[in-house]
Protein backbone atom coordinates (compact mmCIF):
# COMPACT_ATOMS: atom_id res chain seq x y z
CA UNK A 1 0.00 0.00 0.00
CA UNK A 2 1.27 3.44 -0.78
CA UNK A 3 0.10 6.56 0.94
CA UNK A 4 2.89 8.67 -0.47
CA UNK A 5 2.75 12.42 -0.02
CA UNK A 6 3.29 14.00 -3.41
CA UNK A 7 3.51 17.65 -4.29
CA UNK A 8 0.74 17.22 -6.77
CA UNK A 9 -2.79 16.17 -6.03
CA UNK A 10 -2.94 13.57 -3.29
CA UNK A 11 -6.02 11.37 -3.35
CA UNK A 12 -7.97 11.27 -0.12
CA UNK A 13 -7.09 8.40 2.19
CA UNK A 14 -8.87 7.22 5.30
CA UNK A 15 -7.56 5.66 8.52
CA UNK A 16 -10.02 4.30 11.08
CA UNK A 17 -8.92 4.00 14.71
CA UNK A 18 -11.08 1.82 16.98
CA UNK A 19 -10.86 0.74 20.61
CA UNK A 20 -12.88 0.25 23.75
CA UNK A 21 -12.16 3.58 25.45
CA UNK A 22 -9.38 4.72 27.68
CA UNK A 23 -6.60 3.48 25.42
CA UNK A 24 -5.70 6.72 23.66
CA UNK A 25 -7.63 6.11 20.44
CA UNK A 26 -8.49 9.77 20.12
CA UNK A 27 -4.99 11.00 20.92
CA UNK A 28 -3.52 8.65 18.31
CA UNK A 29 -5.91 9.88 15.66
CA UNK A 30 -5.22 13.49 16.61
CA UNK A 31 -1.52 12.88 16.14
CA UNK A 32 -2.05 11.39 12.68
CA UNK A 33 -4.25 14.35 11.75
CA UNK A 34 -1.63 16.84 12.95
CA UNK A 35 1.09 15.02 11.03
CA UNK A 36 -0.94 15.08 7.83
CA UNK A 37 -1.69 18.77 8.33
CA UNK A 38 1.94 19.54 9.00
CA UNK A 39 2.68 17.74 5.72
CA UNK A 40 0.48 20.28 4.00
CA UNK A 41 -2.61 18.15 3.50
CA UNK A 42 -6.24 18.88 4.14
CA UNK A 43 -7.52 16.80 7.09
CA UNK A 44 -10.97 15.99 8.42
CA UNK A 45 -11.65 13.95 11.50
CA UNK A 46 -14.74 12.63 13.25
CA UNK A 47 -14.92 10.73 16.47
CA UNK A 48 -17.31 9.02 18.85
CA UNK A 49 -16.26 7.95 22.29
CA UNK A 50 -19.09 5.94 23.75
CA UNK A 51 -17.41 3.35 25.96
CA UNK A 52 -17.37 0.17 23.91
CA UNK A 53 -16.89 -1.67 27.19
CA UNK A 54 -20.48 -0.75 27.99
CA UNK A 55 -21.84 -1.57 24.57
CA UNK A 56 -21.11 1.76 22.88
CA UNK A 57 -18.48 2.55 20.29
CA UNK A 58 -15.13 4.29 20.43
CA UNK A 59 -13.77 5.23 17.03
CA UNK A 60 -12.05 8.03 15.24
CA UNK A 61 -12.16 8.54 11.49
CA UNK A 62 -9.27 10.45 9.93
CA UNK A 63 -9.27 11.39 6.26
CA UNK A 64 -6.50 13.34 4.57
CA UNK A 65 -5.60 14.42 1.04
CA UNK A 66 -5.28 17.50 -1.11
CA UNK A 67 -8.92 18.28 -0.57
CA UNK A 68 -11.17 16.36 1.82
CA UNK A 69 -14.92 16.78 1.69
CA UNK A 70 -16.27 14.45 4.35
CA UNK A 71 -14.68 13.26 7.59
CA UNK A 72 -16.48 9.92 7.47
CA UNK A 73 -15.14 6.67 6.09
CA UNK A 74 -17.80 4.50 4.49
CA UNK A 75 -18.10 0.69 4.50
CA UNK A 76 -15.07 -0.95 2.86
CA UNK A 77 -13.44 2.45 2.32
CA UNK A 78 -10.72 2.63 4.97
CA UNK A 79 -7.18 2.37 3.68
CA UNK A 80 -6.04 1.35 7.13
CA UNK A 81 -7.78 0.12 10.27
CA UNK A 82 -5.96 0.50 13.57
CA UNK A 83 -7.69 -1.66 16.18
CA UNK A 84 -6.65 -1.30 19.81
CA UNK A 85 -8.41 -4.52 20.75
CA UNK A 86 -8.99 -7.86 19.04
CA UNK A 87 -12.79 -8.05 19.10
CA UNK A 88 -13.07 -4.39 18.11
CA UNK A 89 -10.84 -5.15 15.13
CA UNK A 90 -13.22 -7.90 14.02
CA UNK A 91 -16.20 -5.66 14.61
CA UNK A 92 -14.93 -2.88 12.34
CA UNK A 93 -13.28 -5.07 9.69
CA UNK A 94 -16.11 -4.41 7.20
CA UNK A 95 -15.00 -0.78 7.06
CA UNK A 96 -11.56 -1.74 5.78
CA UNK A 97 -10.89 -2.14 2.08
CA UNK A 98 -10.35 -5.77 1.23
CA UNK A 99 -6.70 -5.03 0.50
CA UNK A 100 -6.29 -2.38 3.21
CA UNK A 101 -3.78 -2.40 6.06
CA UNK A 102 -4.96 -3.93 9.32
CA UNK A 103 -2.97 -2.97 12.43
CA UNK A 104 -4.10 -4.99 15.43
CA UNK A 105 -3.26 -4.93 19.07
CA UNK A 106 -3.77 -8.44 20.34
CA UNK A 107 -4.93 -7.09 23.69
CA UNK A 108 -8.23 -8.59 24.74
CA UNK A 109 -10.59 -6.53 26.85
CA UNK A 110 -13.67 -8.58 27.55
CA UNK A 111 -16.78 -6.41 27.95
CA UNK A 112 -19.12 -7.19 30.86
CA UNK A 113 -21.88 -7.94 28.37
CA UNK A 114 -19.83 -10.90 27.11
CA UNK A 115 -19.91 -12.53 30.52
CA UNK A 116 -22.11 -15.57 30.45
CA UNK A 117 -21.63 -16.64 34.04
CA UNK A 118 -20.19 -14.21 36.55
CA UNK A 119 -19.27 -16.96 38.98
CA UNK A 120 -17.12 -19.11 36.72
CA UNK A 121 -16.16 -16.14 34.52
CA UNK A 122 -17.31 -17.93 31.41
CA UNK A 123 -17.34 -15.47 28.54
CA UNK A 124 -18.42 -15.44 24.95
CA UNK A 125 -15.56 -13.77 23.18
CA UNK A 126 -14.07 -14.48 19.76
CA UNK A 127 -11.03 -16.75 19.77
CA UNK A 128 -7.78 -15.14 18.86
CA UNK A 129 -7.70 -16.95 15.56
CA UNK A 130 -6.37 -15.72 12.20
CA UNK A 131 -9.16 -17.68 10.57
CA UNK A 132 -11.52 -14.93 11.71
CA UNK A 133 -9.81 -12.65 9.17
CA UNK A 134 -10.35 -14.84 6.10
CA UNK A 135 -11.87 -12.71 3.42
CA UNK A 136 -9.44 -9.92 4.17
CA UNK A 137 -6.63 -9.87 1.61
CA UNK A 138 -4.51 -6.93 2.76
CA UNK A 139 -1.52 -6.91 5.04
CA UNK A 140 -2.16 -7.71 8.70
CA UNK A 141 0.21 -6.48 11.37
CA UNK A 142 -0.77 -8.02 14.67
CA UNK A 143 1.34 -6.94 17.62
CA UNK A 144 1.26 -7.21 21.36
CA UNK A 145 1.33 -3.45 21.84
CA UNK A 146 0.10 -3.47 25.39
CA UNK A 147 2.65 -6.05 26.43
CA UNK A 148 5.46 -4.05 24.81
CA UNK A 149 4.16 -0.86 26.43
CA UNK A 150 4.33 -2.54 29.82
CA UNK A 151 7.93 -3.48 29.07
CA UNK A 152 8.64 0.17 28.29
CA UNK A 153 7.27 1.01 31.72
CA UNK A 154 3.93 2.58 30.84
CA UNK A 155 0.74 0.81 29.74
CA UNK A 156 -0.42 4.17 28.38
CA UNK A 157 1.96 4.21 25.43
CA UNK A 158 0.42 1.23 23.60
CA UNK A 159 -1.29 3.76 21.33
CA UNK A 160 2.04 5.32 20.38
CA UNK A 161 3.44 1.88 19.59
CA UNK A 162 0.53 1.27 17.24
CA UNK A 163 1.13 4.68 15.67
CA UNK A 164 4.72 3.62 15.09
CA UNK A 165 3.49 0.46 13.35
CA UNK A 166 1.24 2.61 11.16
CA UNK A 167 3.88 5.27 10.55
CA UNK A 168 6.31 2.68 9.20
CA UNK A 169 3.75 2.01 6.48
CA UNK A 170 2.84 5.62 5.67
CA UNK A 171 5.32 7.92 4.06
CA UNK A 172 5.33 10.94 6.32
CA UNK A 173 8.85 11.86 7.51
CA UNK A 174 9.83 10.40 10.87
CA UNK A 175 10.99 13.77 12.17
CA UNK A 176 7.51 15.16 11.58
CA UNK A 177 5.93 12.35 13.60
CA UNK A 178 8.38 12.88 16.44
CA UNK A 179 7.74 16.60 16.57
CA UNK A 180 3.95 16.17 16.60
CA UNK A 181 4.03 13.39 19.21
CA UNK A 182 6.18 15.52 21.48
CA UNK A 183 3.70 18.37 21.15
CA UNK A 184 0.54 16.28 21.71
CA UNK A 185 1.36 13.82 24.50
CA UNK A 186 0.83 14.70 28.17
CA UNK A 187 3.66 16.70 29.74
CA UNK A 188 6.48 14.59 31.09
CA UNK A 189 5.79 11.60 28.86
CA UNK A 190 7.63 12.73 25.72
CA UNK A 191 10.63 10.46 26.29
CA UNK A 192 8.69 7.25 26.84
CA UNK A 193 6.41 8.08 23.92
CA UNK A 194 9.41 8.62 21.65
CA UNK A 195 10.75 5.22 22.64
CA UNK A 196 7.33 3.67 22.10
CA UNK A 197 7.08 5.19 18.64
CA UNK A 198 10.41 3.74 17.58
CA UNK A 199 9.51 0.42 19.13
CA UNK A 200 6.40 0.41 16.93
CA UNK A 201 8.28 1.39 13.77
CA UNK A 202 10.57 -1.60 14.09
CA UNK A 203 8.14 -4.04 15.66
CA UNK A 204 7.70 -7.26 13.73
CA UNK A 205 4.29 -8.88 13.71
CA UNK A 206 4.30 -11.36 16.52
CA UNK A 207 3.38 -14.82 15.28
CA UNK A 208 3.54 -16.38 18.69
CA UNK A 209 0.72 -14.29 20.05
CA UNK A 210 -1.55 -15.67 17.39
CA UNK A 211 -1.49 -19.03 19.07
CA UNK A 212 -2.93 -17.61 22.25
CA UNK A 213 -6.59 -18.08 22.90
CA UNK A 214 -8.76 -16.60 25.54
CA UNK A 215 -8.45 -18.51 28.78
CA UNK A 216 -10.48 -17.50 31.77
CA UNK A 217 -8.44 -16.40 34.78
CA UNK A 218 -7.47 -19.43 36.78
CA UNK A 219 -8.18 -19.97 40.42
CA UNK A 220 -11.73 -18.67 40.71
CA UNK A 221 -12.11 -18.77 44.46
CA UNK A 222 -14.68 -20.95 46.10
CA UNK A 223 -16.89 -19.20 48.62
CA UNK A 224 -18.38 -20.64 51.72
CA UNK A 225 -21.27 -18.95 53.46
CA UNK A 226 -21.47 -19.85 57.12
CA UNK A 227 -24.68 -19.07 58.96
CA UNK A 228 -24.52 -18.98 62.76
CA UNK A 229 -28.05 -20.23 63.23
CA UNK A 230 -27.89 -19.58 66.96
CA UNK A 231 -27.50 -15.86 66.28
CA UNK A 232 -29.83 -15.59 63.28
CA UNK A 233 -33.23 -14.07 63.99
CA UNK A 234 -34.75 -14.90 60.64
CA UNK A 235 -35.24 -11.23 59.76
CA UNK A 236 -35.23 -11.97 56.03
CA UNK A 237 -32.74 -9.22 55.13
CA UNK A 238 -30.11 -11.56 53.68
CA UNK A 239 -32.78 -13.57 51.88
CA UNK A 240 -33.94 -10.44 50.11
CA UNK A 241 -30.57 -8.91 49.32
CA UNK A 242 -28.72 -11.97 48.00
CA UNK A 243 -28.42 -11.33 44.26
CA UNK A 244 -28.20 -15.06 43.63
CA UNK A 245 -31.32 -15.85 45.62
CA UNK A 246 -29.62 -18.76 47.33
CA UNK A 247 -30.57 -17.95 50.93
CA UNK A 248 -33.95 -18.97 52.27
CA UNK A 249 -35.70 -19.38 55.62
CA UNK A 250 -35.00 -22.84 57.02
CA UNK A 251 -38.41 -23.09 58.67
CA UNK A 252 -36.89 -23.05 62.16
CA UNK A 253 -36.41 -19.30 62.46
CA UNK A 254 -33.03 -19.13 60.78
CA UNK A 255 -31.77 -19.23 57.19
CA UNK A 256 -29.99 -21.80 55.09
CA UNK A 257 -27.95 -21.72 51.92
CA UNK A 258 -29.74 -23.60 49.18
CA UNK A 259 -27.16 -23.78 46.39
CA UNK A 260 -23.81 -23.01 48.04
CA UNK A 261 -21.83 -23.33 44.83
CA UNK A 262 -23.71 -20.41 43.29
CA UNK A 263 -22.42 -17.93 45.86
CA UNK A 264 -20.32 -15.21 44.20
CA UNK A 265 -18.78 -13.96 47.42
CA UNK A 266 -20.39 -10.53 47.12
CA UNK A 267 -20.74 -10.36 50.91
CA UNK A 268 -23.96 -8.35 50.82
CA UNK A 269 -25.49 -10.85 53.23
CA UNK A 270 -22.57 -10.51 55.63
CA UNK A 271 -22.52 -6.71 55.61
CA UNK A 272 -26.28 -6.35 55.93
CA UNK A 273 -26.95 -8.98 58.57
CA UNK A 274 -27.68 -6.98 61.73
CA UNK A 275 -26.95 -9.99 63.89
CA UNK A 276 -23.43 -10.88 62.75
CA UNK A 277 -24.87 -14.28 61.86
CA UNK A 278 -23.36 -14.65 58.38
CA UNK A 279 -19.71 -14.93 57.48
CA UNK A 280 -18.53 -15.39 53.92
CA UNK A 281 -15.26 -17.30 53.78
CA UNK A 282 -13.12 -17.11 50.70
CA UNK A 283 -11.60 -20.53 51.17
CA UNK A 284 -13.30 -23.85 50.70
CA UNK A 285 -14.95 -25.44 53.66
CA UNK A 286 -13.06 -25.62 56.90
CA UNK A 287 -14.30 -28.19 59.40
CA UNK A 288 -18.01 -27.92 60.02
CA UNK A 289 -19.26 -25.33 62.46
CA UNK A 290 -19.51 -21.59 62.38
CA UNK A 291 -18.30 -18.55 64.21
CA UNK A 292 -18.39 -18.92 67.94
Amino acid sequence: MSLAVHRQTVPTRGVLFVGVGGQGVLLASTILGEVAMAAGLDVKKSEVHGMAKRGGVVFSHVRFGTEVFSPLIGLAEADALVAFEWAEGLRWLPYLKRDGLLVLDLARIVPPAAQRDHRTWTVRYPDLDPAALTGHHGPVVAVDARGRAMQLGSPHVANTILLGVLAARLEFPTALWEEVIERCVPPGTAAVNRRAFHEGRTLEPCALTWAQRWTPPQGVPGWRVAVATAWCKGCDICVRVCPEGILRPDGRGAVEVTVPERCTGCRLCEWLCPDFAITVHSRPAAPAGVAR
Binding site: A230, W231, C232, K233, G234, C235, D236, I237, V239, R240, V241, W271, L272, C273, P274, D275, F276, A277
Partner: protein, 272 residues
Protein backbone atom coordinates in the same frame (compact mmCIF):
# COMPACT_ATOMS: atom_id res chain seq x y z
CA UNK B 1 -24.48 -12.79 71.56
CA UNK B 2 -27.02 -13.09 70.12
CA UNK B 3 -27.79 -9.48 70.96
CA UNK B 4 -31.13 -8.27 72.30
CA UNK B 5 -32.15 -6.18 69.31
CA UNK B 6 -35.29 -7.14 67.41
CA UNK B 7 -35.16 -9.15 64.19
CA UNK B 8 -34.53 -6.80 61.28
CA UNK B 9 -33.35 -3.89 63.42
CA UNK B 10 -30.65 -2.11 61.41
CA UNK B 11 -28.60 -1.13 64.46
CA UNK B 12 -26.48 -4.26 64.16
CA UNK B 13 -25.50 -3.33 60.61
CA UNK B 14 -24.28 0.03 61.87
CA UNK B 15 -22.31 -1.67 64.63
CA UNK B 16 -20.69 -3.89 62.00
CA UNK B 17 -19.71 -0.82 59.96
CA UNK B 18 -18.25 0.82 63.08
CA UNK B 19 -16.18 -2.28 63.87
CA UNK B 20 -14.87 -2.53 60.32
CA UNK B 21 -13.95 1.18 60.34
CA UNK B 22 -12.05 0.81 63.64
CA UNK B 23 -10.32 -2.27 62.27
CA UNK B 24 -9.46 -0.47 59.02
CA UNK B 25 -7.79 2.39 60.93
CA UNK B 26 -5.88 -0.18 62.95
CA UNK B 27 -6.86 1.36 66.30
CA UNK B 28 -5.69 -0.53 69.37
CA UNK B 29 -8.60 -1.99 71.34
CA UNK B 30 -7.32 -0.43 74.56
CA UNK B 31 -7.18 3.08 73.11
CA UNK B 32 -10.81 3.05 72.02
CA UNK B 33 -13.49 4.10 74.49
CA UNK B 34 -17.19 3.80 73.69
CA UNK B 35 -19.60 5.91 75.70
CA UNK B 36 -23.29 5.14 75.25
CA UNK B 37 -26.48 6.56 76.66
CA UNK B 38 -29.80 4.79 77.01
CA UNK B 39 -31.79 3.16 74.26
CA UNK B 40 -31.64 0.32 71.80
CA UNK B 41 -28.66 1.78 69.97
CA UNK B 42 -26.81 2.45 73.19
CA UNK B 43 -27.22 -1.18 74.20
CA UNK B 44 -24.71 -2.05 71.51
CA UNK B 45 -21.90 -0.78 73.72
CA UNK B 46 -22.50 -3.83 75.89
CA UNK B 47 -21.39 -6.10 73.04
CA UNK B 48 -18.20 -4.24 72.17
CA UNK B 49 -14.87 -5.28 73.60
CA UNK B 50 -13.39 -1.79 74.07
CA UNK B 51 -13.30 0.45 77.12
CA UNK B 52 -17.03 1.02 77.39
CA UNK B 53 -19.07 3.30 79.57
CA UNK B 54 -22.85 3.09 79.80
CA UNK B 55 -23.99 6.57 80.82
CA UNK B 56 -27.30 7.96 82.00
CA UNK B 57 -30.03 8.95 79.57
CA UNK B 58 -28.83 11.65 77.19
CA UNK B 59 -25.64 12.32 79.12
CA UNK B 60 -23.22 10.31 76.98
CA UNK B 61 -21.65 13.45 75.37
CA UNK B 62 -21.06 14.95 78.83
CA UNK B 63 -19.45 11.77 80.17
CA UNK B 64 -17.40 11.54 76.99
CA UNK B 65 -16.22 15.15 77.30
CA UNK B 66 -14.94 14.43 80.78
CA UNK B 67 -13.29 11.22 79.69
CA UNK B 68 -11.58 12.88 76.75
CA UNK B 69 -10.25 15.70 78.97
CA UNK B 70 -8.87 13.21 81.46
CA UNK B 71 -7.49 10.83 78.85
CA UNK B 72 -6.69 12.77 75.64
CA UNK B 73 -4.91 9.67 74.32
CA UNK B 74 -8.18 7.74 73.92
CA UNK B 75 -10.35 7.67 70.80
CA UNK B 76 -13.70 8.42 72.39
CA UNK B 77 -16.79 7.29 70.49
CA UNK B 78 -20.28 8.31 71.58
CA UNK B 79 -23.12 5.98 70.61
CA UNK B 80 -26.52 7.55 70.96
CA UNK B 81 -29.99 7.45 69.46
CA UNK B 82 -32.33 10.13 68.26
CA UNK B 83 -34.35 10.19 71.48
CA UNK B 84 -31.27 9.95 73.69
CA UNK B 85 -29.15 12.46 71.80
CA UNK B 86 -31.66 14.94 70.41
CA UNK B 87 -34.38 15.09 73.08
CA UNK B 88 -33.22 14.16 76.56
CA UNK B 89 -29.58 14.89 75.84
CA UNK B 90 -30.03 17.55 73.18
CA UNK B 91 -28.22 20.15 75.25
CA UNK B 92 -25.22 17.97 75.96
CA UNK B 93 -24.89 17.11 72.31
CA UNK B 94 -25.00 20.66 70.96
CA UNK B 95 -22.61 21.93 73.61
CA UNK B 96 -20.10 19.19 72.91
CA UNK B 97 -20.30 20.26 69.26
CA UNK B 98 -20.02 23.95 70.17
CA UNK B 99 -16.89 23.28 72.21
CA UNK B 100 -15.46 21.10 69.44
CA UNK B 101 -14.46 18.32 71.82
CA UNK B 102 -12.46 15.65 70.00
CA UNK B 103 -15.20 12.99 69.98
CA UNK B 104 -16.78 10.82 67.32
CA UNK B 105 -20.53 10.77 67.80
CA UNK B 106 -22.64 8.14 66.06
CA UNK B 107 -26.34 8.95 66.24
CA UNK B 108 -28.75 6.16 65.28
CA UNK B 109 -31.89 7.79 63.92
CA UNK B 110 -34.84 5.41 63.67
CA UNK B 111 -37.49 8.13 64.15
CA UNK B 112 -38.83 6.63 67.38
CA UNK B 113 -38.15 5.67 70.99
CA UNK B 114 -37.75 1.95 70.50
CA UNK B 115 -36.68 0.59 73.86
CA UNK B 116 -39.34 2.38 75.88
CA UNK B 117 -42.23 1.34 73.67
CA UNK B 118 -42.53 3.47 70.57
CA UNK B 119 -43.06 7.02 71.79
CA UNK B 120 -42.80 10.06 69.55
CA UNK B 121 -39.22 11.22 69.01
CA UNK B 122 -38.02 14.65 67.86
CA UNK B 123 -37.15 13.00 64.56
CA UNK B 124 -40.47 11.27 63.84
CA UNK B 125 -41.72 12.34 60.43
CA UNK B 126 -44.77 14.61 60.30
CA UNK B 127 -47.87 12.49 60.22
CA UNK B 128 -45.98 9.49 61.58
CA UNK B 129 -47.82 7.34 64.09
CA UNK B 130 -46.32 6.61 67.53
CA UNK B 131 -47.69 5.42 70.88
CA UNK B 132 -47.90 9.03 72.00
CA UNK B 133 -49.15 10.26 68.64
CA UNK B 134 -51.84 7.76 67.70
CA UNK B 135 -53.42 10.15 65.21
CA UNK B 136 -50.16 11.16 63.60
CA UNK B 137 -47.35 13.50 64.55
CA UNK B 138 -48.09 17.22 64.17
CA UNK B 139 -44.55 18.41 64.93
CA UNK B 140 -41.86 19.02 62.32
CA UNK B 141 -38.85 16.73 62.86
CA UNK B 142 -35.28 17.84 63.61
CA UNK B 143 -32.69 17.67 60.88
CA UNK B 144 -29.92 16.38 63.14
CA UNK B 145 -27.11 17.16 60.73
CA UNK B 146 -28.13 20.77 60.22
CA UNK B 147 -28.61 21.18 63.95
CA UNK B 148 -25.14 19.88 64.72
CA UNK B 149 -23.54 21.85 61.89
CA UNK B 150 -25.14 25.01 63.25
CA UNK B 151 -23.95 24.13 66.75
CA UNK B 152 -20.37 24.02 65.48
CA UNK B 153 -19.50 20.38 64.78
CA UNK B 154 -16.42 20.35 62.55
CA UNK B 155 -17.33 17.09 60.79
CA UNK B 156 -20.91 16.22 59.93
CA UNK B 157 -22.00 13.28 57.80
CA UNK B 158 -25.12 11.23 57.19
CA UNK B 159 -25.25 7.60 56.12
CA UNK B 160 -27.77 4.82 55.69
CA UNK B 161 -27.88 1.46 57.44
CA UNK B 162 -28.77 0.01 54.06
CA UNK B 163 -25.42 1.14 52.63
CA UNK B 164 -22.95 -0.50 55.01
CA UNK B 165 -19.85 0.14 52.93
CA UNK B 166 -20.51 3.86 52.48
CA UNK B 167 -21.27 4.02 56.17
CA UNK B 168 -17.99 2.32 57.03
CA UNK B 169 -16.16 4.94 54.97
CA UNK B 170 -18.01 7.84 56.67
CA UNK B 171 -17.31 6.45 60.13
CA UNK B 172 -13.65 5.91 59.30
CA UNK B 173 -13.37 9.52 58.17
CA UNK B 174 -15.16 10.70 61.31
CA UNK B 175 -12.78 8.68 63.50
CA UNK B 176 -9.79 10.16 61.73
CA UNK B 177 -11.14 13.70 62.15
CA UNK B 178 -9.74 15.82 64.99
CA UNK B 179 -12.55 17.74 66.65
CA UNK B 180 -16.22 16.99 67.12
CA UNK B 181 -17.26 14.53 64.40
CA UNK B 182 -20.93 13.70 64.04
CA UNK B 183 -22.36 10.89 61.92
CA UNK B 184 -26.11 10.48 61.73
CA UNK B 185 -27.18 7.05 60.54
CA UNK B 186 -30.69 6.54 59.25
CA UNK B 187 -31.65 3.11 60.50
CA UNK B 188 -34.90 1.28 61.00
CA UNK B 189 -37.11 0.19 63.86
CA UNK B 190 -39.42 -2.43 62.41
CA UNK B 191 -40.76 -3.28 65.84
CA UNK B 192 -42.42 0.07 66.56
CA UNK B 193 -41.96 2.73 63.92
CA UNK B 194 -42.25 0.19 61.13
CA UNK B 195 -45.20 -1.64 62.59
CA UNK B 196 -47.20 1.47 63.57
CA UNK B 197 -46.65 3.11 60.21
CA UNK B 198 -47.10 -0.06 58.16
CA UNK B 199 -43.65 0.21 56.67
CA UNK B 200 -43.16 -3.53 56.46
CA UNK B 201 -40.38 -5.70 57.86
CA UNK B 202 -36.87 -4.54 58.61
CA UNK B 203 -35.80 -5.89 55.24
CA UNK B 204 -38.53 -3.89 53.51
CA UNK B 205 -37.57 -0.72 55.40
CA UNK B 206 -33.92 -1.06 54.47
CA UNK B 207 -34.76 -1.79 50.84
CA UNK B 208 -36.96 1.33 50.99
CA UNK B 209 -33.87 3.36 51.89
CA UNK B 210 -32.12 1.99 48.85
CA UNK B 211 -35.09 2.76 46.61
CA UNK B 212 -35.33 6.30 47.98
CA UNK B 213 -31.62 6.87 47.38
CA UNK B 214 -31.86 5.45 43.89
CA UNK B 215 -34.84 7.70 43.18
CA UNK B 216 -32.94 10.75 44.42
CA UNK B 217 -29.96 9.81 42.30
CA UNK B 218 -32.23 9.44 39.30
CA UNK B 219 -33.65 12.92 40.01
CA UNK B 220 -37.00 11.50 41.00
CA UNK B 221 -36.86 13.08 44.44
CA UNK B 222 -40.53 14.10 44.44
CA UNK B 223 -41.45 10.48 43.83
CA UNK B 224 -39.21 9.21 46.59
CA UNK B 225 -41.06 11.15 49.26
CA UNK B 226 -44.34 9.53 48.37
CA UNK B 227 -44.73 5.96 47.31
CA UNK B 228 -42.33 4.72 44.68
CA UNK B 229 -44.52 1.83 43.61
CA UNK B 230 -48.03 1.07 44.69
CA UNK B 231 -47.92 -1.87 47.05
CA UNK B 232 -44.49 -1.01 48.35
CA UNK B 233 -44.07 0.76 51.68
CA UNK B 234 -43.63 4.53 51.68
CA UNK B 235 -40.04 5.57 52.12
CA UNK B 236 -38.50 8.22 54.27
CA UNK B 237 -38.37 11.61 52.53
CA UNK B 238 -35.05 12.02 50.75
CA UNK B 239 -32.31 13.74 52.66
CA UNK B 240 -28.76 14.57 51.80
CA UNK B 241 -26.25 11.84 52.59
CA UNK B 242 -22.47 11.81 52.63
CA UNK B 243 -20.07 14.27 54.24
CA UNK B 244 -21.92 17.54 54.77
CA UNK B 245 -19.37 19.56 56.80
CA UNK B 246 -15.61 19.15 57.15
CA UNK B 247 -13.63 22.03 58.65
CA UNK B 248 -11.06 22.61 61.38
CA UNK B 249 -11.25 24.70 64.53
CA UNK B 250 -9.19 24.61 67.77
CA UNK B 251 -10.12 21.61 69.86
CA UNK B 252 -11.64 22.09 73.33
CA UNK B 253 -9.10 20.05 75.29
CA UNK B 254 -6.17 21.79 73.59
CA UNK B 255 -7.58 25.20 74.41
CA UNK B 256 -8.35 24.24 77.98
CA UNK B 257 -4.87 22.86 78.57
CA UNK B 258 -3.27 25.94 77.02
CA UNK B 259 -5.40 28.16 79.22
CA UNK B 260 -4.52 26.10 82.30
CA UNK B 261 -0.83 26.48 81.48
CA UNK B 262 -1.26 30.24 81.19
CA UNK B 263 -3.00 30.40 84.57
CA UNK B 264 -0.29 28.30 86.15
CA UNK B 265 2.37 30.66 84.76
CA UNK B 266 0.46 33.67 86.00
CA UNK B 267 0.20 32.14 89.48
CA UNK B 268 3.95 31.52 89.62
CA UNK B 269 4.67 35.08 88.49
CA UNK B 270 2.65 36.43 91.38
CA UNK B 271 4.04 34.01 93.93
CA UNK B 272 5.69 35.83 96.84
Amino acid sequence: MPHILCPGCGHGIVAGALLRAICRLGLDQDTVAVVAGIGCSSRLAGYLDFCTLHATHGRAPAFATGLKLARPDLHVIVITGDGDGLAIGGNHLIHAARRNVDLTCLLFNNEIYGMTGGQLAPTTREGGVATTAPYGNVEPPFDACRLLAAAGATFVARGLAAQPLVLEELIARALAHRGFAFVEVLTDCPEFHGRYNRLGSGAAMLLGQIRATAAVEAHLAPLASTVVHPGLPPVRPPVETGVLVETTRPEFGDRLRAAAARWADAREDHAP
